[in-house]
């Protein structure tokens, strides 16, 4: 079958209209159907530029909507990056950060944003700059010890908890000495 619009290319899209209870089928090729606007979803998928729209529809309120629940607006626009003055609302609309500090500012909101984009992942497990590697290892260790300490306290194993706490103090002191150049963010 040939496209009803351009009458050149083969028809690949069927559009069913309903008028007065009667169904009409129209056949278009993919080019015309996109032009006419029937293949909207398909064409948006291939355009990564619509990221701003994706953002607002996923995490906030549609940017065209004016009568949005006020509570959402308040919660989100309250947060503003101290360094570049970007608000969370602006971030949602633009889909990009303005400065590295924004990551800290929006740290509460970001996991849900990243989850959507990175198949559920919220944590980096790849390469670490070698300059940060040592302090990174220390911090990881401290985090592990803290978890163990929590468990020890829950189990009322206070002796072990105290010794874990001392270890944490020790590592923290080491981190502060060695991590002088570690001024990330």
């Amino acid at each position: 079958m040939i496209c009803e619009n351009c009458k050149q290319r083969p028809a690949t899209v069927t559009v069913t209209h309903t008028r007065n209870g009667e169904h009409y089928a129209k056949h278009y090729c993919d080019v015309c159907s996109e032009e006419i606007g029937y293949a909207k979803t398909a064409s948006e998928d291939t355009q990564p530029m619509s990221i701003a729209q994706i953002f607002s529809s996923w995490f906030g309120i549609p940017d065209w909507s004016t009568d949005t629940p006020e509570s959402t607006i308040e919660n989100q626009s309250d947060i503003q990056c101290a360094n570049c003055h970007m608000t969370y609302q602006q971030f949602l609309q633009q889909g990009k950060f303005n400065c590295p500090h924004c990551y800290e500012t929006f740290s509460q909101q970001l996991p849900q944003v990243f989850k959507r984009m990175h198949n559920g992942a919220t944590k980096h497990i790849g390469k670490v700059p070698s300059g940060l590697q040592e302090s990174y290892q220390l911090k990881k260790e401290i985090e592990n010890l803290r978890q163990m300490m929590k468990i020890a306290i829950q189990d009322e194993n206070f002796e072990e908890a105290a010794s874990l706490r001392d270890k944490i103090y020790h590592l923290q002191a080491k981190l502060q000495q060695g991590g002088a150049e570690d001024d990330e963010l």
Binding site: D45, T46, Q47, P48, M49, I51, N83, C84, M86, G95, K96, F97, N98, C99, P100, Y103, E104, L110, V113, F114, M117, H118, N119, G120, A121, T122, K123, H124, I125, G126, K127, V128, P129, S130, G131, L132, Y136, K139, E181, D183, E184, L185
Partner: protein
Amino acid sequence: MNFEHFLKDDSAAWMSGDQQHGDIVMSTRIRLARNLDGHRFPRAFSEETAMAIDRQVSGVLLDAEQLAIHFSHFDLTTKSALQKQMLVEKHLISPQLAKKETVGSVLLADDESISIMINEEDHIRIQCLEAGLQLEKALAKANVIDDYIEASIDYAFDEKYGYITCCPTNVGTGLRASVMMHLPALTMTNQMRQLISMMPRLGLVVRGLYGEGTEAIGNYYQISNQVTLGKTEEEIIHDLTVIVEQIVLRETAARKAMLEHASIAVSDKLHRAMGTLQHARILTTEEAAVCLSNVRLGIDLGIINSIPNEVLNKCMLAMQQGFLQQYAGTTLKPNERDVYRATLIRDMILDGINHHNGEKGEDSYDV
């Protein structure tokens, strides 16, 4: 190296393909996004910051004695739109960087396999190109540069989120690994649409020839990872490789099936493409790209053997608007471009055939 060196039409490495994957995988690209700590991203920074970052980054790499790679630095704000367009067409810079008017510069390695874009969307974008499917090699190269820069510059890095980037889709590894593939049989048999819609579930995405926001022309596609967070660099590359190899198998199967079921129809189509390139007087980019793709398929299938692949690579580069106008030596209106493109390709193909047959080119009677 002077700037003109990088505007030559020698066929770029990314077009040459490799033996191992037939001519289905054309090239590999690795891109690492990095930012300097304590500075706003290019979308929000001042021109002074831009200059300071440019100086700092290029300073490190231009004096890199231990690196054994020689870079040349170019401030793109001083280059013409045409020159920038040509760099885009050679995949040395991104269209986004070319569009910037007040900031942006690039460091290019002499062999054009590495380019470091400064002040694009992120402060630093390290890009490595390799022919064929060579993700590991390209990543290793990019890592060498990355480590070298990192030794003297503080990156914006977060323990939880990894390398911090302007766009949240790049956060984590900042790695985009892409493989450029020539998939005419899958396209002709309408399997691409299904493939493209399947990709996001695998954390991958299919794009056009020039990356984000561009359309696939001439059956060339770029398959890249979408997910940059929660996976190591090695995992990202491994997952991509597995899928690319699957696609190669499917393309090969589709080619075989096409030949078995419609050998004469396929042969007709591919020879017609050759005929168009040899005789057309008006050629749009789209038509030229489709014909070049079909002739390439003809060569791969052994149906066309009057011309080598290198000539097609050269045509692919030359037919793009930047290079075309460079050849013409003047700016051309779109309709003039199509006429000039047809003439240029006709000459290049004729030349290629004559060379290929070992004959001395007879005078062109084709004017």
